[in-house]
Symmetry: C2
Subunit: 587 residues, 2 copies
């Protein structure tokens, strides 16, 4: 406390102009998200925070930066993002997003939590003060997502959630799918109460809900939703007091429609903010991050100040941190950017904690970070694992089996039914009919279970693909034409301790390591992108024509996306929420 | 937890239309503070909370109320109020404010805290669920206000503040005067940090601060101010990220000027809300409570929806309770009113917790409440107290003394200097020159100190007036023409255990008891008003021409309002923040 008071005192002295500031930004146009004004101003910074607006020039500063008349805008905030799906560590992600002006992420790190529980979660934010952006946690509500239907590395029950909720880096309960509330699941109601007790909000995920269900969802204290697709949905959410995060991700591109609706109806925007949810590195590099949402808002006819408010103060208020974030006012973190043009969001300079984090599209170097050793050792499959474990035995001559039938460009799938021939008491894949084997190998060393089924849509003519990213349990998922290559692909992921592998004819053709929790690379963004090109190319050579086969593979085993899922415990009938038999009939 | 979950579950079932609601309000125009719409709707209520907007009619309700097309508006919130200065208990105050639609008070109960510390504070909110309004605490930051210069009954140091801050009824650190931050007083910085750690805001009191000092105040994490008098001041506060509470009290009538400024400049109002601070019962009864602020806003040209937002959702968001309060949306408390006319704020019906709290200007009866016995025993003066204790001895024949020179209708005073004749070694009052004696008697039984000085402005020709309300220490303050009547007046307050007394020629002419902490009456509002008329009338008969002599008396001893104050420790030079001698020169 003594030290905090001293630090506070030093800061106040600088704010009062009694001591020189660390930095003085002069000759700028301040975008004031409180009054809506854009006005000439100067800004002083001390101890990483905004000390004063238009400080007494006599107070002086250690460093002065003439901003050449550019606009000063608060750093952008992403209200909901899954860091792990970028395949990058926070350090590497920073290099990509900070040049676009994003200085705060509200991260629902449910992937690493499913792999490594509380330890994994907290390893992400440990030492996050060294990052070029501010990292807060939306404490994942679904670890595991489907209790009883999958094995995960970590479990966050109500007790863990309550403990985590009290931490300073926590901002909310992470997205809770509606079924948990609509089905009155006690465990999740307890998690909601824990969030409320800690003064945190509860992030929603109100996909497809109509007004009646929204009443119940809002009554369950869900405070926001990032799944709106139409303006009508957006309006219906606000009408029950649910704030809206307008999402612009890689696949889900909701921005244009929603923002045009808001602009054309002149809807108040205080309860509307921005998120990316899942956005690939390539897309971030090409078009921007939250800056792109802001750009879409401006292009839709919303005023630049209002668009900036949606990316800054609105988010800060929603998460109850407006005294720390979201504006360029005294006491807040000195996270801001300079824009040469207010209608084209391309920052020339980005500051975090009052230090230069990016300039002209290039991030400042960030010191590497050490993660706990255990997070690099999360793939444990039994030494005894053999081809036999991938086999699907059958006593008859022919078998009618369920098949996971992929729908191109969609995350959902259909259940198909196909007859297979039995060979030597086993049902093999049938690549000619695009009926491949799909297996999930439990990778946390808890039981070593392997379960197998059939899938249509990958069109591999031979070989196998494996991934240790497989939502949300993140066991090893393998698709292949034969058990031999499938085993090898799984073994390659064990060797790499996670990643993607492409195997053909007993040989690893290409692989990409994701050793941090089996989810994230240790490499910088450009190298990760190059590796992905490489494994995708190898998959194409085996006949797979998908744009992103490993992405598809990573979502295929989800036990919560209809109609079928596959976990280490077996084939899942998602709508019935239970394990179902693979073989329906034999002859 | 079991029980909370069950209750939550029952509520969700009603919200989902699976069980009948307690109450269904039909045929109304909903004022939607999220979207800004006014639209036809119905509202269901269950377990005291809004369950659904436009619920499925098939779900049914135990009771249905046809609202006849009236407007449904969220209950109003007072962002900053001192309950004790109304002289009423919360129960009695409710009868006066709830008919005007106020359903939530953010109370800075610094008076009772100065008298009885934590116990006094928590006695106010104990069982507050039975009140017809919602009562939250702004934890007083100044108990005592002037440490070292006054004796108080209670003390709230940083440790007590930290503990209190964690309580569910706490919403903020109560108004912190700027000097504490500008002077870098460690104890107060610690209290600010305690509030921040608990996720609470810090209420400001930025009276008279210019932009430079505001920078320092905002940097100190002060989040709001209710002392703006001009539009320019309001703008300057928003520009440093300090929210503005527009105050309309009995003496401080800032509403019209500020709201006309906001309206004429089209300033965004998200960070502007309403408070009364100090408003007398007569004024509330006559013109309204927060309803009057709303009315002023509408009259100034602000749209009714925006005016209502300032009284509801803006306040709820500021205090980080928008998931509980401030809108008519599912999950929030069913605190609302019906208005026949949206431009004339006169509720026909007020609900709190979904139950009728007032109808047509009349409050529903509230069960009486028992307070701890100790709070009725707060006046302890030494049995040995005698006229001698009020005497001002002097060895010479004449003495030049400092005089507290009142300025009509202002809280500040000037220091005057007058020569007095000495009689029998004592300096008596000199009513002919309107130079009366003023004494403060320590009333907490801690030291029994009495200190005396002179005052000009009361114009008593004889007798004495005494009060146990004396900001902020609330010792007994007595003004009089002679020591005999002054002693009797103090004794009368001891007998009543607090209140106001008017004494003449050895006899109590009139008195009003304020036995709860020596600050609040046990009676309902009309009786308290009648008693006040009575004591004021008696004071007038003694020659005092002030409109509110006991109010003046209650502020005269403040050791923080320039130029002079008087506490049990002596005459205070306020600007020098130290005790100063009464007698300057003798001859």
């Amino acid at each position: 406390m003594k030290e905090r008071i001293q630090q506070f005192t030093r800061f106040l002295e600088a704010a009062g102009g009694r001591k020189p500031a660390d930095l003085l930004l002069t000759n700028l146009m301040l975008v004031d998200v409180y009054t809506g004004e854009i006005r000439p101003a100067s800004i002083s910074v001390s101890g990483g925070r905004i000390a004063a607006i238009d400080p007494d020039p006599a107070a002086g500063a250690k460093e002065v930066l003439d901003c050449g008349g550019q606009f000063a805008v608060p750093g952008f905030m992403d209200a909901h993002v899954h860091i792990e799906t970028t395949l990058l560590t926070p350090e590497a992600l920073g290099e990509v997003i900070v040049p676009w002006g994003t200085t705060t992420l509200m991260a629902d790190a449910m992937e690493i939590a499913n792999v490594a529980g509380e330890e994994g979660l907290l390893a992400l934010t440990d030492q996050s003060e060294k990052l070029p952006f501010r990292l807060f946690l939306e404490i994942p509500s679904r670890v595991p997502t489907a209790p009883g239907l999958e094995t995960t590395g970590g479990i966050l029950g109500p007790e863990e959630v309550r403990r985590l909720m009290e931490r300073p880096e926590s901002v909310s309960l992470g997205e809770l799918d509606p079924s948990k509330v609509l089905d009155l699941r006690e465990e999740y109601l307890e998690k909601i109460l824990a969030a409320m007790d800690a003064g945190r909000v509860c992030n929603g995920h109100a996909i497809g809900l109509g007004p009646r269900e929204l009443n119940m969802y809002a009554a369950g204290h869900l405070t926001d939703d990032h799944e709106c697709v139409t303006y009508q949905e957006l309006l219906e959410r606000l009408r029950v007091g649910i704030a809206v995060f307008i999402r612009e991700g890689s696949s889900e591109r909701n921005g244009r429609t929603l923002l045009e609706g808001v602009a054309s109806h002149g809807l108040p925007t205080e309860h509307i903010m921005f998120c990316t949810d899942d956005k690939h590195v390539q897309d971030i590099v090409r078009e921007g991050h939250i800056s792109y949402n802001v750009q879409l808002a401006i292009d839709a006819g919303i005023s630049p100040v209002q668009a900036i408010q949606m990316a800054t103060i609105n988010t800060a208020r929603h998460f109850r941190m407006e005294d720390q974030l979201g504006s360029i006012t005294p006491g807040r973190f000195a996270d801001l950017m300079l824009l040469p043009d207010l209608k084209r969001i391309r920052p020339s300079l980005v500051l975090k904690d009052g230090r230069i984090a990016a300039r002209d599209g290039k991030a400042s170097p960030v010191p590497p970070k050490r993660y706990p050793e255990r997070l690099f050792e999360t793939v444990h499959i039994p030494p005894s694992l053999s081809e036999k474990d991938f086999a699907i035995p059958c006593q008859a001559g022919q078998a009618l089996c369920r098949v996971i039938d992929l729908i191109p460009d969609q995350i959902i799938n259909r259940e198909a039914r196909e007859w297979f021939s039995v060979w030597d008491g086993l049902i093999p894949a049938d690549p000619e009919r695009d009926l491949l084997k799909l297996s999930v190998v439990e990778r946390y060393g808890k039981n070593g279970r392997v379960s197998s089924a059939f899938v249509r849509g990958f069109r591999l003519t031979s070989g196998a693909l494996a991934s240790s990213v497989s939502h949300d349990h993140h066991n090893i998922v393998v698709v292949g034409s034969n058990d031999h290559d499938m085993l090898l692909a799984a073994r390659e992921l064990e060797r790499l301790q996670g990643g993607f592998a492409c195997v053909y004819d007993g040989e690893v053709k290409a692989s990409a390591a994701l050793p941090l929790g089996g989810l994230m690379s240790s490499l910088p963004a450009p190298e990760v992108m190059a590796q992905m090109d490489c494994v995708n190319h190898a998959a194409a050579e085996l006949g797979c024509q998908m744009a992103a086969p490993f992405m598809t593979l990573s979502f295929i085993s989800l036990p919560t996306v209809p109609e079928l899922g596959l976990t280490d415990m077996g084939l899942i009938d998602v709508l019935a929420h239970q394990i179902c038999p693979l073989i329906l009939e034999t002859k």
